[in-house]
Symmetry: none
Subunit: 220 residues, 2 copies
Amino acid sequence: MRALIVEDDARIADLVASALSAAGFRTETVGDGDTAWFQGGTEDYDLVILDLGLPRLDGLTLLKRWRGEGRAFPILILSARGTWSERVEGIEAGADDYLPKPFMVEELTARARALVRRAAGQVQTVHRVGALAIDTNRMTVTRDGLPVALTPLEFRLLSYLLLNRDRTVAPSELLDHIYGTEDGREANAIEAVITRLRRKLGAGAIETRRGFGYRLGTDP
Amino acid sequence: MRALIVEDDARIADLVASALSAAGFRTETVGDGDTAWFQGGTEDYDLVILDLGLPRLDGLTLLKRWRGEGRAFPILILSARGTWSERVEGIEAGADDYLPKPFMVEELTARARALVRRAAGQVQTVHRVGALAIDTNRMTVTRDGLPVALTPLEFRLLSYLLLNRDRTVAPSELLDHIYGTEDGREANAIEAVITRLRRKLGAGAIETRRGFGYRLGTDP
DNA sequence: CCCGAATTGTCAGCGAACTGTCAGCTTCGT
DNA sequence: ACGAAGCTGACAGTTCGCTGACAATTCGGG
């Protein structure tokens, strides 16, 4: 889960970032509208937290432009001015939810989760790769139709490979994405997880490209 | 099955309309209280979805007027402001159910179906899961035919798992849905309720997927 | 208004599952 | 054939979830 935080007040940005991190998101923060426009236009996020009072490019304008471009990520608006008409305006412009400041962090994380769930519920979440069927919504995996029990870490790793199944993913990249920005594990940790995954999914499920990294196996 | 959707936000109205259509309803949408009052007064519906924040005629007033006229269709209230007192007020005014925004469309359709069934006098609200029979209308549970006494909290938790029985529900999601947006409990509170439920329903009734969450046991 | 019972949140200890590390082995590319 | 990269089994530290006990809160009745 990747979240973009668009907020010029550094204190609030930090608050939001730590709250979302605790809720399982990986967060990136930008402080002005121009940068946000660029980031949101080129990267894919699962959630965007958008402050309306921004320097250089107004939040509402930014929102409309993104939607005009067909960007579909869920957007949650933060605003100091909590009037009803402004809320309606935000929703009409394509926001998915609206939270007036000041807010409780619990409420923020609760709504963030709800948004992501809602967005996820509307897309097809079953992906087939060889003999595997991976349901990212129910968080289940079957192999030749039989359910396979994965641990959370294994599932996260598999999901990331699935998300990038068209290319080879370097171990260092896996380290970055599977774990938060926490303290560093030895690179070998990834290999251990790969081994455990292969034991459960079959040897051909994940292929190694020596010197580069891993990718989902195209065939058994 | 004919449903009237009273909602001024076009995006939400569309969402609700498509969800109900998929659930087998014929839908009509109106965007303000006056028109709704006319439609609901002259036509017969099997279900009305009512937004409280309406232009021209407030939702609650509309509801009371309809009931005062003897209109008996089931009414499901949608509201952004999810306070408990408001919910009580809506129910007292004659609403049959209440759903706070943001909501999941699955939950909406599930409740809509339940309302219609209830109104039709078909007591088809008994769900069977393994040895359990759960009556969401009379709020009773039997295990192998013998009644089981659940506390309100236990029943709410069980109901939510029942509503989402096809997937694994994260503890944090349970926290969000079982309790209002009230002050935060420790996550451990959920575990305590689960333990008490298992003692009453049998160990296999609720299964744990470590690291992911809970789901209703498919079999003993 | 007070008392007792039922309900429900919190805490601490325990056991099991998860996962990082290490050491030795295998495999691959040159 | 050799070295580096990757694999894997074993092991141990840590986390996660379960549960019994207790406390706080709610609710109903007298």
